[in-house]
């Protein structure tokens, strides 16, 4: 089964290394067509190879809509994504990326407090560039790193305007998050991105804050197209014997494509009927708007299907 195109094709336009171990990538469309829009602080998945998919924040401003800029720290003990980017990527190479997800909603009037740790600065670069572009000054950034700051030139106007506090934890005191967040009044909105221990310390410091005034940046998974089932089930293709586990909220269409199922998909929303398939074991949870009750006894519209039992066995 030929697969639908599910990613945005980009070309590596530029790679720079402003600090040893930190690479800044610029991705563009091959014809410099605009890329799918994004919100300040959004992130994308980079498809670096089969099964090698990694999520990084965009660090350019949303109005620069014909490129995606990313800052990637080389993590020698990581799972291979940043190593691939640092060692295997070349200008002119192709990277497929997801649509951008996530982003930050700023407080329009009150102070927005950005707290970054190390390369966790990247979503705030996008946010600050966006705010500066809108001539908005109601933000402050506290950026600590275990070493020199990695990409300060990308926020130079904000630094020059005195809106950035940079610290190097090798000789400066570790940031006092409770003091930072209370310094700008209780109506401020706080945002944090950095390594996991820092996020936990920050969460503790804001534990009494109303949740709508706290944004902790942990990458969100892709929004599932369809809420098929609340429970995990196994989808089984009876003819090939292939099977896959469908987690709650997972996109069953993508999984069936991965299994090379001989099923066509079109609308992926349960209205066109293209993916109608006989089922053998289930019973399926039918979420389509196509089949009659009698038809559902035999067939299932797979793109929106869930399963009431542990196995959804399809005659495909």
């Amino acid at each position: 089964m030929a697969k639908a195109i599910r990613t945005v094709k980009t070309i590596v336009k530029d790679i720079s290394e402003p600090l040893a171990g930190i690479k800044v990538l610029v991705l563009e469309d091959e014809d410099q067509w605009d890329l799918p829009p994004f919100r300040p602080g959004a992130h994308i998945d980079l498809h670096l190879g089969k099964k090698l998919v990694r999520t990084y924040s965009l660090c350019n401003a949303p109005h620069e809509n014909s490129r995606y800029v990313l800052g990637v720290k080389k993590e020698d003990l990581g799972r291979g994504g940043s190593r691939f980017i640092h060692e295997g990527l070349e200008v002119g190479g192709r990277i497929d990326v997801s649509l951008p997800r996530g982003g930050m909603d700023f407080d329009q009037e009150n102070m927005n407090i950005f707290v970054a740790g190390g390369i966790g600065i990247t979503p705030f670069v996008s946010a600050i560039r966006h705010m500066e572009n809108q001539s908005r000054a109601n933000y402050v950034l506290y950026w600590s790193s275990n070493g020199p700051a990695s990409i300060p030139e990308m926020i130079r106007p904000a630094i020059d305007a005195g809106r950035v506090h940079i610290s190097d934890t090798r000789h400066d005191p570790f940031p006092d998050y409770a003091a930072i967040v209370s310094a700008h009044g209780q109506h401020s909105k706080v945002f944090c991105c950095g390594p996991e221990p820092m996020l936990r310390a920050f969460e503790q410091a804001v534990s009494s804050w109303p949740t709508e005034r706290v944004h902790i940046e942990r990458f969100s998974i892709a929004k599932p197209d369809i809420a098929g089932s609340d429970d995990t089930f196994k989808v089984v293709l009876s003819r090939s014997g292939r099977e896959a586990v469908v987690e709650p909220g997972a996109n069953i269409v993508h999984m069936l494509e991965e299994l090379d199922a001989d099923i066509s998909f079109s609308c992926e929303g349960g209205i066109c009927g293209a993916c109608r398939t006989p089922w053998i074991e289930g019973p399926p949870v039918h979420n389509d708007r196509v089949l009659t009750p009698a038809e559902r006894e035999k067939d299932v519209i797979v793109c929106v299907a869930g399963c009431a039992g542990p196995r959804l066995v399809l005659d495909a």
Partner: protein, 170 residues
């Protein structure tokens, strides 16, 4: 119903004449549609520079080549209805069809031929919305677009289509 004088203006029992309001294309899946003052329609293939141009396909549905999807149309009136019924602003560059028209009863034109400017099109089937449009736009437009998602056509006679061109039966 009384038949009108002009046979040219009579189709499906209703006389109509519309206009081209917007023209859009994009070269690859997921990239934003860009607005143009004119598009070049190539008979039997598609729109120059568009993702579904036959033999040069790079669209979401390119894994399912379809001869009848050389150009797609959408009604201005549907954009207005989605705003009225769902309070969702769907802009002409967001529905992801190529030609936005006003005054053209697209849902009644399946299997019929009609002219857009100097070009001759043949409607092949109604478009159905695709779930991935919600992912692209971040707007819940899948349901609102059901039954008003535009028309897929084959290009019988190609040429340049311009904003403001007349759309009429033939």
């Amino acid at each position: 119903m009384t038949r009108t004088d002009s046979k040219d203006q009579f189709q499906g029992g209703v006389a109509w004449q519309g206009t081209v309001c917007f023209l859009h294309r994009t070269p690859r899946a997921f990239l934003p549609m860009r607005s143009f003052e004119s598009l070049n329609l190539i008979a039997g293939r598609g729109i120059e520079g568009d993702r579904y141009l036959i033999e040069n396909e790079a669209g979401f549905y390119s894994h399912k080549p379809e001869e009848g999807r050389q150009v797609t149309l959408f009604e201005m009136e549907s954009l207005e209805a989605i705003m009225r019924d769902y309070a969702i602003e769907l802009r002409p560059e967001e529905h992801r069809r190529n030609i936005t028209v006003r005054g053209v009863p697209l849902n009644h034109l399946v299997f019929q031929r009609f002219r857009v400017g100097a070009c001759l099109l043949e409607a092949t089937r109604l478009s159905t919305p695709c779930r991935h449009i919600e992912e692209i736009l971040g707007k819940p437009v899948f349901d609102p677009m059901i039954h008003r998602s535009g028309l897929n056509c084959r290009i019988i006679e190609g040429g340049e289509v311009r904003v403001g061109d007349i759309v009429r039966p033939c």
